[in-house]
Symmetry: C2
């Protein structure tokens, strides 16, 4: 890459004359985030359960509007009408019991925990998996480990027939929707998903409230929707307005069998009564007996699930700070606001950063500083049901985002400890890394065994780097997979996206009623220093994206990322064997070499153009637009094969587990399918895309060098 001597702290993309002003603003953006303010936002929105579509949800929406307005920001409340699935209000969402050889009622709700006042509030949600089919089944049981595709295939190899049975699967290894989908596909009558102590309970660490790990009756709620598109299930590709044309629910692939989450105290009663052969290697969990695959003929379990599917009203709340120079260009920071219960961790540990960052920029605006581009602070609705709010928003503003979306930063559940992490579209990574050099690292997480005190003067950068491999020269930035609100911006609209946050708190209350302020403060801390640290990083990242003369997307990040991806794909192809065992990536590798040369030329041109006496503002703006435009070259107009809503050819979520990232997804798919013809075609297409991305970078470099080039094309 280009010679940014002194590394990350340089203000990449800023004309020399604007550096001092930016540094001044950044100093304030470091200073403004305050633990007391973060704490107060947290208390405001974590005070009651607020599942999308409920009264609590409405109160949160109103509260968000009020907070953003009080900051002096423009507020858009974007109402939408998604198809949700909710248990009846009578608290009788489910019944699980053993009916033979003896009758044993099993708990489906979480009991109060000593010292945690939130856990004893009346009317807390009883465990449910949204979109589970209502039903009442009594059947024998089969244990399917994590319920991955490989696990169900292993059951077939073992000669175990899951047809007509109730499948017990433990949480972990994939998105829960795939557990129930595979169970349904293999013919199961119902699914019980349990939290195993090996994965989340006593085997991980001390249980709540002494520690932060799952208790015997703690359970994980969550949606089980799996469709070839995220967002509202009835309005793919279109906004779910009140009167939008909708698909018939029966025509959508919604779950057809009852599915229910339980804690391990319930699962233990079933598992310990199973008979016959022991589980294969890797299937044993943390309960104190040998797990078995089959329940045997005598053991019968009854599963009753009650849920009502229907259209509900909810909203995204989006606050805007208009840009002074390029108001149409948008940098967006978001996190959802809906939760399965109190949501102190998920999502509010991220949402409060959106609020505090908004407060920081609003305060700065009051002091007379405005960004050149527009910044938007978004709190999305109904994320938990299927990333609905943000996707409806993207579907509403698709063209505007495609043309003017500079970057999207997602902050779902972003502050769960002291250890900073980030996942990003590669050209964004450098800016994030750069700003962590300016933010102080904080104290270790509570409950850390023999914590090493943070060295004086350490920055987040140093702390983050210290956790990378011994020989790493940079902190590790991951790839963005599925599972949260960046999905619409990144995979559908092609807006370069990132997620960031911090982890390390010793425990989990994910999707449980214990995910409340009492748990959060015991596990993550009650000083809000991690949230302050993260808001500082968000503030600086956003300020650079919103204010640089040339958007700081570094194309030099592509070649190493792409080469690593090809190496991984070759490895995967070799493992799978068959006709595509040795893919020919020659054309792509040559295109990457070309892209690397383009990126080098671009960075050299950028350095000269932003130095004193460099290019004029118009040239910088043109280069910036070309660079942004180049990002859209990744979008496949017809979408990815078999899932047209996903259009990004650099990255998608995987197709079998839901959370993981699939790099170069079309190539990956054809390797997974071992389809040599299609693979060759997708490799050729990828090489073309790389060529188009490189052309825009070359054009941007030419503009920076004052070689004219298409101002007209750029205006788009």
């Amino acid at each position: 890459g280009g010679g940014w001597v002194g590394g990350g702290v340089g203000l990449r993309g800023f004309a020399a004359a604007r550096v001092a002003g930016q540094r001044q603003a950044e100093a304030k953006l470091l200073e403004l985030p305050a633990p007391e303010s973060l704490r107060s936002f947290h208390e405001m929105f974590a005070s009651e359960p607020h599942i999308a579509g409920t009264a609590g949800d409405m109160r949160v929406i109103a509260g968000l509007e009020a907070q953003f307005r009080a900051m002096g920001l423009e507020v858009e409340t974007h109402w939408f009408w998604p198809y949700l699935s909710l248990p009846p209000g009578d608290g009788k969402a489910a019944e699980v019991s053993i009916v033979s050889p003896e009758v044993v009622e099993l708990p489906v709700a979480e009991p109060p925990v000593e010292g945690d006042p939130f856990s004893s509030r009346p009317g807390l949600p009883v465990g449910f998996n949204a979109y589970a089919a209502p039903g009442d089944v009594t059947a024998g049981v089969v244990y399917a480990n994590y319920g991955t595709k490989a696990d169900f295939e292993e059951l077939v190899r073992m000669g175990v027939d899951v047809r007509g049975t109730i499948v017990l699967a433990r949480y972990g290894g994939n998105f829960r929707g795939y557990k129930s989908l595979f169970a349904e596909q293999f013919g199961a009558a119902g699914v019980i998903i349990f939290t195993d102590p090996e994965d989340s309970g006593y085997a991980k660490g001390l249980m709540y409230p002494e520690g932060g790990f799952a208790t015997p009756r703690q359970l994980q709620m969550g949606s089980i929707l799996v469709l070839p598109y995220p967002g509202d299930p009835l309005t793919p590709n279109y906004e779910a307005t009140e009167d939008a044309p909708r698909l018939d629910p029966s025509a959508v692939g919604l779950p057809k069998i009852p599915v229910q989450p339980v804690g391990w105290s319930a699962a233990e009663k079933i598992l310990s009564r199973m008979k016959g052969a022991a589980v294969p290697e890797g299937w044993q969990g943390g309960l104190p007996f040998t797990y078995r695959v089959e329940g045997g003929p005598e053991l019968k379990v009854r599963l009753v699930v009650r849920q009502d599917r229907g259209i509900h009203k909810t909203a995204n709340v989006v606050a805007t700070l208009r840009g002074s120079k390029f108001p149409e260009q948008k940098v967006i920071v978001g996190a959802h606001h809906d939760a399965w219960s109190y949501g102190a961790g998920d999502p509010l540990a991220g949402t409060i950063l959106v609020l505090e960052s908004a407060r920081s920029f609003a305060e700065l605006a009051k002091q007379g500083w405005r960004p050149e581009r527009t910044i938007q602070f978004a709190a999305w609705g109904a994320e938990e049901f299927g990333i609905i709010g943000s996707v409806e928003y993207v579907e509403r503003y698709r063209e505007d985002l495609r043309d003017h979306g500079v970057a999207y930063i997602n902050l779902d559940m972003a502050t769960m400890g002291s250890k900073f992490w980030a996942a990003a579209h590669p050209p964004l990574a450098r800016t994030i890394i750069d700003v962590t050099r300016l933010v102080p690292a904080i104290r270790p997480d509570p409950g850390t065994r023999s914590p090493k005190p943070t060295p004086p003067g350490w920055t987040v950068y140093q702390d983050w780097l210290s956790r990378a491999g011994r020989e790493s020269k940079a902190p590790t930035v991951g790839n963005l997979g599925g599972g949260s609100d960046h999905v619409g911006f990144y995979f559908h609209a092609g807006v370069p996206s990132a997620a960031m946050g911090s982890s390390g708190g010793r425990g989990t209350s994910y999707h449980s009623n214990y995910d409340n302020l009492h748990w959060y403060r015991a596990v993550v801390g009650d000083d809000y220093l991690p949230a302050q640290m993260n808001t500082r990083i968000v503030n600086l990242t956003v300020a650079r994206l919103a204010n640089a003369d040339v958007v700081p997307l570094d194309p030099a990040a592509y070649p190493p990322a792409l080469r690593g991806m090809l190496d991984e794909l070759e490895k995967r192809a070799g493992e799978l064997g068959g006709a595509t065992a040795k893919p020919d990536f020659g054309a792509v590798r040559r295109a990457i070499d070309g892209l690397e040369a383009s990126a080098d030329r671009y960075n050299a041109a950028l350095e000269r153009a932003t130095a004193e006496g460099g290019a004029d503002a118009g040239a910088l703006a043109s280069a910036s637009a070309l660079l942004r435009d180049g990002e859209r070259a990744w979008l496949a107009p017809g979408g990815l094969p078999g899932r047209a809503w996903y259009r990004h050819q650099f990255m998608a979520n995987d197709e079998d587990s839901g959370y993981a990232a699939w790099s170069l997804p079309e190539v990956r798919l054809n390797i997974e399918r071992r389809n040599a013809d299609q693979l060759a075609r997708s490799v050729a297409r990828l090489a073309e895309v790389l060529g188009r991305v490189g052309e825009r970078i070359d054009a941007a470099a030419a503009v920076l060098r004052g070689e004219g080039a298409g101002g007209g094309a750029v205006g788009k």
Copy 2:
């Protein structure tokens, strides 16, 4: 290596004219081993507990003598008088109890198991760790994971003081003697070693008697002797005859604190009452609560151990089939005969192979076939207390073994399943691999989940290879570490050694009263096909070693083995860092290249010399002697640094855990100590040794080519 076309089945080292005769003998040696005979030996010696020095031991010795004599073999009963440590005969070996905050007596004996008549016999040994110091201590507790050196160091880092406490350590990760040694060195008052269900119990598979894994009260007996030499603790380097001069026991580093094994049902009662911080990563076991490091001030445990140390009489029983041509040269096959209880698995699952192999060769001798070299079949005494019998034997016959020992094959606990394995001094590996091509593979192990039937016509070679890495071209042969009777032959006398056997039985009764015929037949099988398979492999291996014109030690095995070892050492050095982070192995690598050239020349010469019209018998015998003599070049006259009894510079057991192998041990030691000066010296010494090994190989090649060379030197 040389061109042994067709690979392993070729009769390496046999003159062309002798091949047909050897093949005929081998056909019989494949045919003779019989399941009924193996079963009958098993019943004969597994009928009662026979701890060394007890009445049962004496009956086993007499029985072994009788069996070997009945076969028509010469029998030597080699009596020796080791210093042993035994619990009193009253069954009151130990008491373990919680005394505060409440009194709870904990079990130290194994209860009868339903359907297992052996488990209910009166007078079975109560759990004890031989050489534990008698004592009666009451103290607080600390949990030390596996009690490795790293674990105790981690406790120090955590600020946990083990001084004056009773340490709880779980079995696994090292030789139990190191658990108690480190505990003692760190100041503990006593040690309780328990079997954790994660390592050996329900988390591994179904428990005995439904499956084969450890029950809640099953415990592991065993010696905790750790000295810089194996064998009798009072007579290092010398045979423990009745009137040998002996060290004063107080001058020997015997354990000074009480140590006791228990099952997890006892450990659970203590562990579940501990207080305070949770254990670090990797320390959690399989009991259903979070393990903690400290017991806290209220929890007190009492540990009472009673043992009497003293000199006892026991014996090795060695049967000899005299060689027809080179009677002074010896191929030795051995396994110990003493056990902690019935010993159906340890050692008899190997000892019966020694007996059956002896019966095979004796039968063949009756039919007129005799090996050219002498074959000895040995059943060693008092192995369990510290590899005593075989070491005393080696110390008695040290010079003879050094001059005439061709190879030693160890068969401790050798038949624990259907999956063949081997560990060997590299030049021996090829012969073992070769013969497995002639032995049929057998059925899968009992209790295997969805077993794949063994393909018709499959050999052990194919089965073994199928378990190596996907791209492996040969089965994996391991390195020989510590822990059994090869130690004296290999590490002290320099006799090339191997161990072999088969594993795969789903369970463990190691060092427990459940290691009896009932357990063995349930877990390994009652058809004795695995034992028959192994005896066939032993027979052919021994027949080739005993009868080849040139002993089949393949020097071409050294270079790849040595290079792999250096790579490992470089990796380890890099991990440890410091002054020896980047060792300079140039001299050794050059010596290996030289050795490789020597081995290639030797193999080419051997092929020509053993072809029709090749070298005469005298030249082959001279080459054979030179090759054997070359093996002794590995012996350091002054022994290894700090443990002079160990003299082999190619291999030793490790110094911190007892069971693992340390390749190139002097180099390894200096890397572990990060002593750059000593490392440079040990590297230079190793290069010299390799030069000397290579010289003998060159000399052997010269003899084979008819270039004369020192017949005189060879006669030694």
